[in-house]
Amino acid sequence: MSQQKTAAPKAASETQLVARAQRGEEEAFAALFEMHKRRVYSLCLRMTGNTAEAEDLAQEAFLQLFRKISTFRGESAFSTWLHRLAVNVVLMHLRKKGLQQVSLDEVDSSQDEPVKRDYGDYDRRLMGSVDRISLTRAIAELPPGYRTVFVLHDVEGYEHNEIAEIMKCSVGNSKSQLHKARMKLRDWLRQNEGLMTPDEPVTSDQAPTER
């Protein structure tokens, strides 16, 4: 409820800014940039795992947005329009780089290697909450196809049907890739971030409690 109260003035203000930007007012462009720069940049950063590329792509996304702003008629939320545009800019970039991003249905078979799971000797839960830096590093280590689906779904909050549309794959494929991405992340965090101690067995007092 409180979110609705704060969202309404923001939306109104954004609508006014868009109208002013459509008239070419530089201050409105600057304000819209300020309003959305962090989300667009973060999206680019997490999808590429590289700050320089992310800045270039964020820049390109905003340029495309501002060049097209006169065509925005408000059928969808401005932020939705912008973020979809940013996703497309990043995907186009990844395709140009030759990464396996065109379609998840055509994903590189090397990405489909089963995620190694060790049962028995040392499986333990990730310790406490996963810290931000470790998770960011782990996401950057994911193969591009997995990374894209994970970022779009778990970080950006897209639904599988939206991802399927963006990635031109099936909903089932999106779900499958997301699951594999999460398993790979878990594996990577256990092995590389010291979140697991491989030789240490799970003892009864460390065993997870019932939910």
């Binding site: 940049y41 049962y119 499986d123 931000r132 779900k175 699951h179 878990r186 799970v202 065993a207 997870p208």
Partner: protein
Amino acid sequence: MDDTRRHRTAECDRCELELEAYMEGEARPFVLAHVRECVFCKVVSEDLQALRTAAGELPLEEPSPAVWANVRAQLSAEGTFAEKEGVWSWIWQLDLLRRPVPVAAFACMLVLGCWMTAPRNYPQSEASASLAASGGQPVAVRSMAFVSGGTSLEQVVRELEEAFKAREGSLAPDVKATYENSLSSLDVSIRECNDSLQREPGNSLAHEYLFAAYSQKAEVLSSALDIDEGR
């Protein structure tokens, strides 16, 4: 003996197969039952939930100021920004630019008046000083006075010209012709000043006229960019 040490079972395999759907919120009674029995599958399930939560809570990152600087510069060069209302737009509203001859005469008188009333001992500009130090090589336009941020007026004019060229197609033919006439006469002045400076690099008057011509050109171009299509 640690009774939590164990090996993967067929039930674990089935649990893994169903875990994906379970994580997507689908009802999977087998998974629920199995994780109550199997600590390892329970750990995996809880880890995946933790990862999902942590991913949704990742803070947003801040881009460097260079991103906006680049976007702004590019949009400015493309003429996306409307010029603010200024003296030139006010003059345009009076239709003065449609009468270039009297306006040009007025501008000349204004420049001449300023020149006659201004003190004669102008401090030598940074560029002129370096020119004199270098033995007076003709650098002409490059000796323009510098404006804030180290950007020369010549550079500003060049950017405005590029933006104008990109948009001149949208101007009404008569408006375009008016601007082209004004810009052409200013280009003649600039050429004359440059010629003078090539012959006599220390000519302070030629520097002043050159600066004035570039300033006027910048204003004319700015006002042209302020004009909407068909106005």
